[in-house]
Amino acid sequence: MQAYLPCGVYHQQYSEDHAWWQTKFVWGKMILLGVLLFVVFPWFGGYYLGIMNSIGYTIMGALGVQLLIGFCGQITLGHAAFIAVGAYTSALMLLHIPESQAFWAVFLTKSGLLYPVSIVAAGIVGGLWSVLFGLPSAKVKGFYLIMTTMAAQFITVDFVITQYVAQIGGRGQAFSLPPGTIKIGPWEIDSDVKVYFLMVTLVILMTMAVANLMRSKTGRAWIAIRDNDIAAEAMGINIILYKLKAFFVAGFIAGVAGAFWISNLSAVSPEHFTWFWSLWLVGVILIGGFGSIHGTIFGSLFMVLVMELLQVIVGVLTPWFPSLSMNFLFLKESLFGLSICVFLIFEPNGLSYRWWQIKNYFNLWPFSY
């Protein structure tokens, strides 16, 4: 979609033509957003920062799902598995490397680089694990791929992680992370504000990476595969390679998201990465809009905020309807189902499409086309 440019903006170089922000107005908006994200929001209290952190986590999780479903057409219902792989990779590294006396281990622990390195490692392990379960996509697609990705969820989380990985070190189901384990350099991530800054940084990096990937050769190949895999293959795209690349990148993002999320958790356990969370992420991009990075963000905002709102409403109504707070989980799932139904019926292209229409409404002012 070519961005709408005002009259008098023209480019003499391709680099200008490809710039993300081409007008002063957009630069202004972005600076404002930066100020909001880095200066204004951190002043908000812990409760709001907690919400924002879960929004950020949802964005990172949904970004990978968006990449697979929205950009590459590979429907996945097992994304939480890769988040779990990332979370466990990072947690295991954080717990076990400090115990080692090897030079590199001591260096990593002392310098505070362990957590950053573990995030990258989590991404790589998550990516490779994802590629493993992406292999069936070479043969199957559509409905059958949903089944194989669901299998990834159950094999990974319910079998491998619960039965084996979680038993490492004999800590029982949950890995509790002692305070002070999660450090970036000298900076110990022990408060919501610090988690928030880590989240904002990661979300910006991930979003930029995906947005840039989408306008590269790889991104175009993914879109070609999504739109018509046979035609894409006929055009000379190695579709298996590109599908696996998509699985890798999606798994990488998931791994990073998982590694990030442990900073917000006191203990890591398989219950954090249920199949419902995979489904939830698909719901997020469905509401946000397939094939749109904006959509990922809008969907995450919508889902988290609506659920928070629900909690507030339930809190207000509890004195009159005590059963509401007991059945909160049930309510939440009903609302999730309901929003998906409503969106599929009334706004099948998601919030990003609505956003696009609103922008167009004003860009085309005072006309309609």
Partner: protein, 646 residues
């Protein structure tokens, strides 16, 4: 917001002996590689061409032409789209002492042959295969033509005619010559004299065969200078060159003013996307025939009709405010504070965006010329705050003699003479002009020169008068003025432009000279009326069928009634007929600059003319239409005649 002149007193002196070529050299030395001389949109970006690139290309083309045998005074013809290469070839010819001739790209074979032969063209620079084909077809009857130069290789792989040579080859020859004689180019430039002929321009002529007007360097330079004295441009300005170079107005901007000021000339990617490309650039100055502005208004009106109710309401309110402010401005009355505030709000709510859509965000001065423009169109642009001005001039006076001044715009006049220009009206009302830009004479047409050029005065053949404010008012060509039944003199063009303000009507031809009543032949706008018909579930398959629908007749009659409201009884339109086709330059109904050739259509549509003044309801037509490739087909149809209630 209305933008005035920048008012910078740049000195535009012309030193004795200055030529276009010398000015070109001077500007190159001044700007060099630090300034972009032109841009061409190619593969999605505006590729810059600096003055150094410009200079180098012109030099090699010029020397290449010399090594092919160009002598001073030889004619080099150019035909093609607006591309930098065209301008380089023209400058190349001029620098070598040659004379540039431009042809309209959509000229039919006959016209091309006539001009090439009549101008004694030695080299023809065509853009691509189409032009090469034309040139090859006519070379038999143009013995003086030596070489055909092409630029775009598309489709030319199997053309091995020895007469053909690519522009690249010409430039290679030029490079070779430069190695042998490095100073030759500057020597050639310095040999030029300002009274040498620089351009030979064929007037499109509403009446007869094209006549070639000889314009000297001094003509072009003084015209550019005097124009810039009125409305100075800045070197940082952008200008979009999208109108045919064969139109004097485009030469005026791209060559005279462009060289004088050194603003950047931008070339669109393709003619089809010129509109979008103009919007991207957002030019600071613009000169186009009324047709272009009419098209803008039409686009706005049509889109407005389809807009959502809120947007429509805001637009309507804003336009009303804008019109009120513009009318007060035209009447030179003070604008009350309340209206001025309302106008500012209207600007923010609507005009700003509207100008952005039209590509007029940065426009400082917009000019229209070549034909009359309706007052409604004028008012429209001024209500948006676009400083639209009328230019009056002819090819024979290098394009411009009279111009509106900022703040003194009257839409029924064409303004006051530019500096160094005198205007005089003869006893029978003909407009005469005298200025340093008046041409030398017609090429190989002594007789026409003698009647047009007397004692340095240019006899324009237009009628007009000078009003109380010293503004020149131009009627149409002398024979285009009509006398109404009540004996009053009336301009049919005025009525036609009023009618054309309706988005549904593309063209109109008003008849009524010395007749009992006024009638109109209307060409509907196929796209707009077609859409209108679609919305009402009216079936149609073609323009002729759509134009003859009774519903369409009713639609048109409503538009005409609207125009009739403000007219005296004798000037009201009584009857009209929807024509089965649009007027077209290929059928000789319009000139290449899209002026109606009244005498010709009168003869061609004799049957309609007669029927309009008889008591009949239909008229049978049996005519030929010419397609762009020269094919002719026959059309037989019955046209409805509708009488309006008055």
């Amino acid at each position: 917001m209305p933008q005035g002149d920048n008012g910078r007193g740049i000195d535009y002196t012309i030193e004795p002996g200055l030529t276009l070529a010398k000015l070109f050299l001077k500007q190159y030395k001044k700007f060099g590689r630090n300034k972009v001389a032109m841009r061409e949109k190619e593969f999605g970006i505006w590729r810059p061409i600096t003055w150094e690139d410009y200079y180098r290309n012109v030099k090699y083309i010029s020397l290449g032409l010399v090594s092919l045998g160009l002598e001073p005074g030889d004619k080099v013809s150019m035909i093609g789209d607006n591309r930098p290469q065209g301008l380089w070839a023209e400058m190349g010819a001029i620098c070598a002492g040659g004379v540039g001739v431009w042809l309209f790209q959509d000229c039919l074979m006959e016209e091309v042959k006539y001009i090439i032969d009549h101008s004694d063209t030695k080299f023809l620079v065509g853009e691509g295969q189409e032009e090469v084909d034309k040139a090859l077809a006519i070379r038999g009857s143009c013995p003086k033509l030596k070489k055909i130069i092409w630029d775009d290789p598309k489709g030319l792989r199997n053309y091995h005619d020895p007469m053909l040579i690519s522009l690249e080859e010409v430039m290679k020859l030029g490079k070779k010559l430069e190695r042998e004689d490095p100073d030759l180019f500057e020597r050639m430039i310095n040999q030029g004299k300002s009274e040498d002929v620089a351009l030979l321009f064929y007037t499109s002529g509403t009446t007869s065969l094209p006549k070639g007007a000889l314009l000297t360097h001094y003509n072009m330079l003084s015209m550019g200078r005097n124009m810039m004295r009125v409305d100075p441009c800045l070197p940082t300005d952008d200008f979009v060159s999208f109108l045919p170079f064969a139109w004097i107005g485009e030469q005026m901007m791209s060559i005279s003013c462009g060289l004088m000021v050194g603003f950047t000339i931008n070339f669109p990617e393709e003619p089809d996307v010129a509109g979008e490309n103009i919007r991207e650039i957002g030019p600071h100055t613009m000169f186009a025939p009324p047709r272009m502005y009419e098209q803008m208004v039409r686009t706005v009106q049509v889109k407005h009709l389809d807009a959502a109710p809120i947007k429509r309401a805001i637009y309507s309110w804003a336009m009303k405010t804008g019109y009120r402010a513009a009318n007060l401005k035209f009447d030179k009355q003070p604008i009350p504070l309340s209206l001025s505030i309302a106008n500012k709000i209207a600007y923010l709510l609507c005009f700003k965006k509207l100008r952005d859509h039209l590509g007029l965000s940065r426009i400082r001065n917009a000019y229209t010329g070549g034909a009359a423009m309706g007052p409604d169109h004028f008012r429209f642009f001024h209500s948006l705050g676009v400083n639209l001005k009328q230019i009056y001039g002819q090819t024979e006076i290098a394009g411009i003699s009279v111009l509106h001044r900022t703040g003194h715009i009257k839409f029924d006049t064409v303004g006051t003479p530019i500096p160094e220009t005198e205007i005089k009206i003869t006893e029978d009302g003909e407009i005469l002009a005298k200025s340093p830009s008046v041409f030398l004479g017609y090429y190989k047409n002594e007789e026409a020169t003698r009647t047009t050029l007397v004692d340095g005065w240019l006899y324009s053949g237009d009628k007009g008068y000078i009003d109380d404010d010293g503004h020149l008012v131009v009627f149409d060509r002398s024979k285009d003025v009509m006398t109404l039944s009540d004996g009053k003199i009336f301009s049919p063009q005025f009525l036609e432009t009023r009618i054309k303000f309706s988005p549904y009507i593309k063209d109109a031809w008003i008849i009524g000279d010395k007749r009992r009543y006024v009638t109109a032949v209307v060409c509907i706008d196929y796209a707009v009326v077609g859409k209108w018909a679609d919305e009402r579930n009216l079936n149609y398959t073609s323009y002729p069928e759509l134009s003859q629908k009774i519903e369409v007749y009713e639609l048109v009659s409503k538009q005409l009634q609207e125009v009739n409201k403000d007219l005296t009884r004798a000037a009201k339109i009584w009857k009209f007929v929807n024509l089965y086709k649009e007027f077209d330059a290929d059928d000789d109904e319009l000139t290449r600059t899209r002026k109606l050739r009244r005498a010709f259509v009168e003869q061609r549509y004799q049957d309609i003319l007669t029927a309009l003044y008889q008591d009949v309801e239909t008229v049978h037509m049996d005519t030929n239409i010419t397609y762009e490739d020269g094919r002719v087909s026959q059309i037989k149809t019955d046209l409805r005649i509708l009488q309006l209630d008055i």
